[in-house]
């Protein structure tokens, strides 16, 4: 089947989901009120709380949630066939992510634009905030570990991408300084930056950087590990710089790259009329992870991502002008991420090779499939770019540069966020020295994911894709589970039907605990010490967090929270969030 036809069908389903299901949620479940005075109006300070046009907020929200993560999971999950992967992306986006992202904004609006962790503390229990901190800690630890290995593997596989990516750092700093010092427009310098980056692809192709000899001389058995160490050293420094100095100009360059990549995927599919060569349902070898539950944690971002609740309830809710805008911003944000994930599925099943036999050679077993997933996506996008006339070898480096740019930004911000979480946990635990010392908390934020990324074993690709990626998926689904619990309790307090939130909540918790339990026994019975003594305890800890979440969720849904709400969903005991009209 032509990939573009599948993309069009998914587009229609997303449209129907937005048109009808989000309208149902807005009216019957979240009971949005256009006259409700949002926190942006109530606390309007022109800085954090600013009533903002919904298209402006959507632009902010979408760029905050769309990145590399919705690429990796789907590119792995096509191992089970493109049918199940796409079905989970579509159903997850419409019935889980849409409910979650939209609901996170709605519930935050009724709680003074507080974040989900704080609201969990208020409506579930005091313990829920601690649980939230631990889940986010593991989520970020695994994100940083996974993306370090993603970049390391891509650098090893595409040594031509090293020069463009490394030079992008001083280039971004220079552009940032130029814009800041000369107070000039950002668009042209950033476009020059993108052009410079793509010219460097040619330079990179001429002068590939291979660290294998150096890694061997130092004593690393895999050059990826040297890249991983260098990457964490870089992010430790980068996370100490002001955001505007490096991250913002690089994001500016990346935002152009995002639209270029989306255009290349869409146009390339259309021009090349590539057909999907992967089977709808793949006949996977015996002993492979089963679709249930592993598909549903392999694709987290792209079907439902708990991380979105942090953006929704942190920054987005502070800018919502009318409560009814939450539908467009939240639900469409989920749809945008689902669209990216769909593009990843199509690149890994239609663009990457020409025949089913060739495709099956790329996905013979789960370890090979997951180890090569990002590379398959890169090659697929390279083929789409080649359809548009770009020479294939340059097109592949272009795709690698796009993915690495996003992954590197993910690490930059991920390490910074991890430092905040370390500080928050230290504050809660009373370790004030750690909480207030940026260097110390930064070292902790870097050291733990670095150790994870360097765990020996797991074949050529390491444990990252086969195992750590799935563990990351479970923490992301637990974050979503916590947010859905908050949303469900809130809906219940309004005396409305909580099923739209409870159904995805139960499904996610069932899949997550099932996967964690199943993996635990695999780790315990494994020969490798790293599986028995590192991954098994890590899995067990996340399993305990999942059980803790289930206990909290059941308690809260059975009426554990004493907080009272009016019929419109505003807490009656908080004068900053009461229902009023404009």
């Amino acid at each position: 089947m032509p990939a573009i036809v599948v993309a069009a069908v998914v587009g229609v389903l997303f449209f129907l989901g937005y048109r009808y299901y989000s309208a149902f949620l807005a009216e019957r479940i979240y009971a949005l009120d256009p006259a409700f005075v949002t926190p942006a109006h109530r606390f309007n300070d022109g800085m954090d709380f600013v009533p903002t046009n919904k298209h402006v907020v959507f632009g902010h929200h979408f760029t905050s949630v769309a990145g590399a993560a919705p690429i990796v999971g789907p590119a792995i999950a096509v191992f089970w066939g493109w049918g199940p992967a796409l079905a989970w992306i579509v159903l997850g986006t419409i019935f889980a992510a849409g409910v979650h992202d939209f609901g996170s904004i709605a519930v935050s609006l009724r709680h003074g634009a507080k974040n989900i962790g704080t609201i969990a503390h208020d409506v579930i229990s005091r313990r829920a905030r601690t649980l939230f901190l631990f889940i986010i800690f593991f989520l970020l630890t695994l994100v940083n570990a996974v993306f370090a290995v993603v970049i390391g593997n891509l650098f090893v596989a595409n040594p031509g991408a090293v020069i463009p990516i490394v030079v992008e750092i001083p280039l971004a700093i220079f552009i940032g300084q130029y814009i800041y010092r000369t107070r000039s427009a950002a668009l042209v310098p950033s476009i020059i930056g993108v052009i410079g980056l793509y010219l460097l692809i040619w330079v990179g192709q001429q002068y590939p950087v291979d660290l294998a000899p150096l890694a061997e001389a130092i004593g690393f058995d895999n050059p990826r590990n040297l890249w991983v160490i260098l990457l964490f050293a870089y992010t430790f420094v980068a996370s100490r710089l002001p955001v505007w100095m490096l991250l913002q100009p690089r994001d500016y360059i990346n935002s152009h790259q995002l639209f270029i990549a989306l255009g290349v995927i869409g146009l390339g599919m259309l021009v090349g009329w590539n057909t999907i060569v992967a089977p709808v349902v793949n006949d996977v070898p015996e002993g492979s992870p089963s679709i249930f539950p592993f598909l549903f944690i392999t694709i987290a971002c792209g079907a439902i991502s708990g991380f979105h609740s942090l953006v929704s309830s942190g920054t987005t809710a502070k800018q919502i002008d009318k409560e009814t805008d939450a539908r467009y911003v939240g639900y469409m944000g989920a749809v945008g991420e689902g669209s990216l994930a769909t593009g990843a599925v199509l690149a890994a099943t239609a663009g990457v090779v020409a025949t089913t036999a060739d495709w099956q050679a790329l996905y013979p077993d789960f370890a090979t499939a997951s180890g090569g997933a990002v590379g398959n996506f890169v090659n697929g996008v390279g083929v789409f770019a080649n359809n548009l006339g770009v020479p294939l070898d340059l097109a592949i480096i272009f795709a690698a540069v796009v993915v690495i740019s996003f992954a590197a930004t993910t690490m930059d911000t991920g390490v910074r966020l991890q430092r905040y979480i370390v500080q928050e946990i230290a504050e809660v635990a009373g370790w004030h020295k750690l909480a207030r010392n940026l260097t110390l908390s930064g070292i902790v934020a870097v050291a733990i994911p670095l150790a994870m990324a360097l765990i020996p074993g797991g074949g050529d690709a390491g444990y990252t894709f086969g195992v750590l990626w799935r563990l990351f998926g479970t923490t992301n689904q637990l974050t979503a589970g916590l947010a859905l619990t908050v949303i469900a309790v809130w809906i219940l307090r309004m005396k409305r039907n909580p099923l739209p939130a409870v159904i995805p909540l139960v499904f996610l918790l069932a899949m997550t605990t099932w996967a964690l339990f199943s993996q635990f026994w695999d780790f315990v019975q494994a020969d490798a010490w790293s599986e028995r003594w590192v991954l098994a305890p890590l899995d067990a800890i996340i399993f305990v967090l999942a059980i803790w979440l289930i206990v909290e969720a059941v308690g809260a849904l059975r009426g554990g929270s004493a907080r009272a709400y009016d019929e419109m969903g505003s807490p009656l005991d908080d004068d900053t969030t009461t229902t009023s009209t404009r």
């Binding site: 954090d48 949630v65 935002s255």
Partner: protein, 136 residues
């Protein structure tokens, strides 16, 4: 339709990166502003905020928005569409670039100056003058 005024956030008013699992989530994970400041802002941010609040107060008939310079998904197409209608595609492209200058004041897509240079009073005066001309 009312005249739209856009104030572009200062370059230093940047909170976080982009992308799932790494986006602008500082306000989403920090409690009570204990950690190094989700609510800390520099003087330029406060100046833009003051101009914004004054514009809303004195010219309530206008649609006043604050937009980040890196919110290209909104800023670029909206400026291009608005200016192209009046002055053609070339002028629209030029204004699109000018609109991404941090601290810019845009009145119906056209840059009329910078908050950082005009100051609060200057912004109100300039916006009032341009809006009067547009609504004729």
């Amino acid at each position: 339709m009312s005249v739209r005024v856009v104030l572009v956030r200062p370059w230093t008013d940047a909170h976080g990166g982009t992308g799932c699992c790494s986006g602008e989530a500082r306000d989403g994970i920090c409690f009570d502003s204990r950690v190094d400041g989700p609510l800390e802002h520099d003087a330029e941010v406060e100046l833009v905020a003051a101009a914004y609040l004054r514009l809303r107060d004195e010219l309530p008939e206008l649609d006043v928005q604050i937009v980040s310079a890196n919110n290209t998904a909104f800023l670029l197409p909206s400026v291009f569409r608005t200016v192209r209608r009046r002055r053609g595609a070339v002028a629209a492209l030029r204004e699109m670039n000018r609109a991404t200058t941090a601290g810019s004041v845009l009145v119906d897509g056209e840059r009329v100056g910078s908050v950082l240079e005009l100051g609060v009073e200057g912004v109100v005066t300039e916006v009032r003058r341009r809006a009067a001309r547009l609504t004729g």
